[in-house]
Structure formats: structure tokens, C-alpha cells
């Protein structure tokens, strides 16, 4: 059963089409890796799911709910982290999460739960503006994970983290579907990371979906098309290159 489905989802800015007729199918309880080069439309798609930007054409369903009518109901089910950590620098990590907790109507214990989950508990009383980049990233993740929402949308969640942090967050994301019965849509430029944590992947280039399916499906499809299949990075680069060639050399 798909928890997120898009139907010909399109977003244009004047002449430029950021997302073109996208048909995504994200299975409930899976980790879906969203791949694509810079400007492929990954963040725009995620922003549309969160109501941060309005689709130009087409639509999407999240857990049977549609945008814009069910915007608030959709947001109640989603924990998100988009592009960069978003917080109030004048508040401590704990106070930042407390604001989110109040809006979501969660118990007070959910704040410490989220802080523990991302390893920020010892720094709960420190002002968020004084956090290091990695700690800000963790705070953003805690803001997404608080209350253990059924759907998580994470855009480049390991940006700015050191290798240990990347490993921790990857392990955490991978464990979420089993631990909290949630679905994760995660985008990353770190292809090996996606390979290690995603059940399904979607590859986007210039707003168009080039591939969607499991990693096994990708290998089979890549083999058929004559692309290298040794690792995801090579397959991904070959697919993007081929698509760019077909589009007339556009990069």
C-alpha cells in the first residue's frame, strides 16, 4: 500500500519546469531514497508535499489526504527537515523542541525523547545559535522526529555531519520503519548512504523521474540498458549522463 502517491505532479516557475509530470509511489513502512543532481527537483517535490509551494499542475495524496484541502491534516502526520535546519537561535535546543511539542499537542516527555534520539540531550540547555553545524543538523532532525510521526520527509539530513554522525543518523533512519512504524522519504547526494538505507529509490533529473523501484530493480534495469551496476554511484551517473545526452547535452 502506498502512503504517498503523486499524479502528474508539476511545478513550473515561468518557463522553467522544476518538476515535470512526476508519478511517485512510496510504500508504507519503507525508506524511499530520492536521488538526483542539484536542481533536479527533489527539494521542490518535498516542499510541495509540505505545502511550502503549490503545484502548478497535477496533485498528490498523502495517507489518503489531498493538498490543499487537507494541508493541516497532512502536516499533522509529517515530520520534516528541509534543506537546512530551521530553528530559533535565541532559544535553547529544548525550548525549540518545546514550541513544536506545543503545536503538535504532544506530552512533555516527547522533547527529551527526541533529544535523546539524536544525541543532543547533554546540550539541551545551550542556545541553538551556539550549536555547531552538526548539532544544528541534529536539532533539525529532532524537530522532525519529535512525536514519532508516521511519515518523515528528510532533505539531505546528513549534511554537515561528521562520519560518526552520518553513521548514527543513517542507522537511525534505517531503524525507523521497524521501531516506529513510519515511512521515510529521504534525499541525499551521498549515493552510498542511500544504497545502505533505502528500500526503494527514485532517480530524478531535470524534474523528470528516470527510475523508480527497488535497488534490485535498478540493477536489472541498468544491466538491460548497458549501464554499469557495480555500485549505485556508477549506475546513477550513467543514467543521468544518458538522460542529459538525450536532452541535447543539457546539464
Amino acid at each position: 500500500m502506498n502512503i504517498i502517491e503523486t499524479n502528474q505532479l508539476t511545478k513550473s516557475y515561468g518557463d522553467f519546469t522544476a518538476v515535470s509530470r512526476l508519478n511517485l509511489h512510496i510504500r508504507k513502512g519503507s525508506v524511499y531514497g530520492f536521488l538526483g543532481p542539484n536542481g533536479a527537483g527533489k527539494s521542490t517535490t518535498m516542499k510541495m508535499f509540505l505545502g511550502l509551494t503549490r503545484p502548478t499542475e497535477g496533485g498528490f495524496q498523502i495517507d489518503g489526504k489531498t493538498y490543499p484541502g487537507d494541508r493541516v491534516a497532512i502536516l499533522k502526520e509529517i515530520g520534516s527537515f528541509i534543506e537546512a535546519p530551521a530553528f530559533y537561535g535565541n532559544l535553547t535546543g529544548e525550548e525549540n523542541l518545546d514550541i513544536i511539542r506545543k503545536i503538535l499537542g504532544l506530552p512533555k516527555s516527547s522533547v527529551s525523547d527526541a533529544l535523546e534520539l539524536v544525541g543532543l540531550a547533554p546540550f539541551r540547555k545551550r542556545l541553538a545559535k551556539k550549536y555547531s553545524l552538526g548539532m544544528k543538523q541534529r536539532l533539525g532532525l529532532a524537530g522532525a522526529l519529535i512525536g514519532r510521526p508516521p511519515i518523515l520527509i528528510l532533505d539531505e539530513p546528513t549534511n554537515g555531519l561528521d562520519p560518526v554522525g552520518i553513521h548514527e543518523i543513517r542507522t537511525l533512519i534505517k531503524s525507523l520503519p521497524q521501531q516506529f512504524d513510519c515511512t521515510v522519504l529521504v534525499s541525499s547526494h551521498l549515493l552510498p548512504e542511500v544504497e545502505l538505507m533505502a528500500d526503494d529509490i527514485g532517480i530524478l533529473n531535470h524534474g523528470r523521474l528516470l527510475f523508480e523501484g527497488t535497488l534490485e530493480d535498478l540493477k536489472t534495469s541498468a544491466k538491460t540498458a548497458g549501464f554499469p551496476t557495480d555500485n549505485l554511484e556508477d549506475t546513477f551517473l550513467a543514467m543521468i549522463d544518458e538522460d542529459n545526452r538525450k536532452r541535447g547535452g543539457a546539464r
Binding site: I82, A86, F87, G89, L91, I100, K102, I103, G143
Partner: protein, 241 residues
């Protein structure tokens, strides 16, 4: 809930101290004025409170407006500096309610400032005009009017601050509006109804011209109108984002 959240967001921003400081500064103005040149005013004919209002309110109103501008800029700088506003946009809360929460906080602290200033004016009137009798209902009406005619300015400034991610841009627009509207003739009724101009209007003058209902009606309409503009801006931002 929204009001509590918005209040919490202002922690450590210096918002309340700024209003307290601004209020004290504005309230100190008539006091200093009377301390250094009381003989100029005590010899004037007419209602002592109105004499003090005539002599001081222009400066006091300007301070109130400037503090309201700074307050609006501080509120939205907190939202935009570390992307806090974006987090609010992806939470199940209506952004219109958050804006309303900010407006309520801004008008409440403005009310505290106006009350403090009116109290000092009343104190000066009673001290330097010993025979003067001041009634509480008159004082409340007076303060209420001065507060109410400032509401469109507060609302418009919040709309401007919410539209500009760079605090210095909204601060600049606010400062330009303050000084532009100040040079308009204050005796022109139409111009005096504009935000940034209406806070200078005096209760006694409006009462004399029977224009109190006009001021209250127009200021209420302007406040609602700017609030609606903010809601439209919020929707437009989603479409063009």
C-alpha cells in the same frame, strides 16, 4: 496557545526591555519638559491635561511608533534569522494565527506603554496644576483613543516586517514612512487618517471636531484591511515559492 508560543519566541530578543525602555523614555519626556520649563505651560489657559498633550504628544507618539517599528522588525528577524518561520510553515498550525498572535503581543505592549505615558502626563498635570481635577474615565478614554489610533500603524508595520526577510529593509521602510507622514500637514483630515499619521492625533482635538467616530471607524477598518492583506500575502508566497 498561539499567544504563548509567540511570547516564548521573543525570549532573549530584547523585545520587552526595548518596549519598557521606549515607554520610559516617552513617559520621561513630559516630565523633563515640565521640570525645565514648567512656567511656559502653567501660565497657559485651558485644560492642563490638554496643554501637556499639545506640548508633548507629538514626540511621545513618534517614540511609540519608532518602538513599534523596532518591535515588528525584532519579531520577524527572530523568525527569519535561522529559518524558524520555515519550521512553522511545515507544522500543523495556521500561519495567520501566528501573525495574529504577534499582533496581539504588539498591541498589548503598546497598551502598557500608552498607559505608562498617560499616567505620567496625569501626574504632571496634578503636580504642576494643583487645582486641576482629573477623572479616571476621562483618562481611560484619552489613553484608549491614543492606543486605538496607533493600531493600523502597528498592523501595517508587522505586515511589512513579515514581507521582508532582511530586517534592515523593513526597518528602513518603517523609518521612511515615519518621516514621510510626519511632513504631511497634520490639520488635513484625510492625511491624518493614514497609518503613521493617525497616532499623532489628539483625543481632545478629535472630540472638538466630532471626528472621534470617524477616527475609530477608519482605524478599525485599516487594521482589518492590513490583516487581510497579510493573509493574502501568505497565500501568494506559497504560490510563487
Amino acid at each position: 496557545m498561539t499567544l504563548g508560543i509567540e511570547t516564548k519566541k521573543l525570549k532573549r530578543t530584547g523585545y520587552l526591555p526595548a518596549f519598557l525602555g521606549g515607554g520610559l523614555l516617552a513617559a520621561a519626556f513630559p516630565l523633563v519638559n515640565m521640570l525645565v520649563r514648567s512656567e511656559t505651560f502653567v501660565s497657559l489657559p485651558g485644560d492642563p491635561f490638554q496643554i501637556l498633550m499639545d506640548a508633548n504628544w507629538q514626540m511621545m507618539a513618534m517614540l511609540n511608533i519608532l518602538i513599534s517599528i523596532c518591535g515588528a522588525c525584532m519579531m520577524y528577524h527572530t523568525e527569519y534569522a535561522d529559518n524558524g518561520a520555515q519550521k512553522m510553515d511545515v507544522l500543523p498550525v495556521r500561519t495567520g494565527n501566528l501573525f495574529l498572535g504577534k499582533f496581539v503581543i504588539a498591541v498589548l505592549v503598546l497598551a502598557a506603554m500608552v498607559a505608562m505615558e498617560t499616567a505620567v502626563l496625569a501626574g504632571c498635570a496634578l503636580y504642576w496644576f494643583p487645582a486641576y481635577e482629573l477623572t479616571m474615565p476621562d483618562l481611560i478614554k484619552q489613553a484608549g483613543f491614543q492606543w486605538f489610533v496607533t493600531l493600523p500603524t502597528v498592523m501595517l508595520m508587522l505586515v511589512i516586517a513579515s514581507a521582508c526577510k532582511n530586517m534592515w529593509v523593513s526597518l528602513g521602510i518603517g523609518a521612511i514612512l515615519v518621516f514621510t507622514l510626519t511632513i504631511f500637514p497634520q490639520d488635513n483630515l484625510v492625511l491624518s487618517l493614514f497609518p503613521f499619521s493617525s497616532p499623532y492625533q489628539l483625543f481632545a482635538v478629535a472630540k472638538q471636531n466630532s471626528s472621534i467616530p470617524l477616527f475609530l471607524g477608519v482605524c478599525a477598518a485599516e487594521t482589518v484591511l492590513f490583516g487581510l492583506i497579510e493573509l493574502i500575502l501568505q497565500k501568494t508566497r506559497r504560490c510563487v515559492a
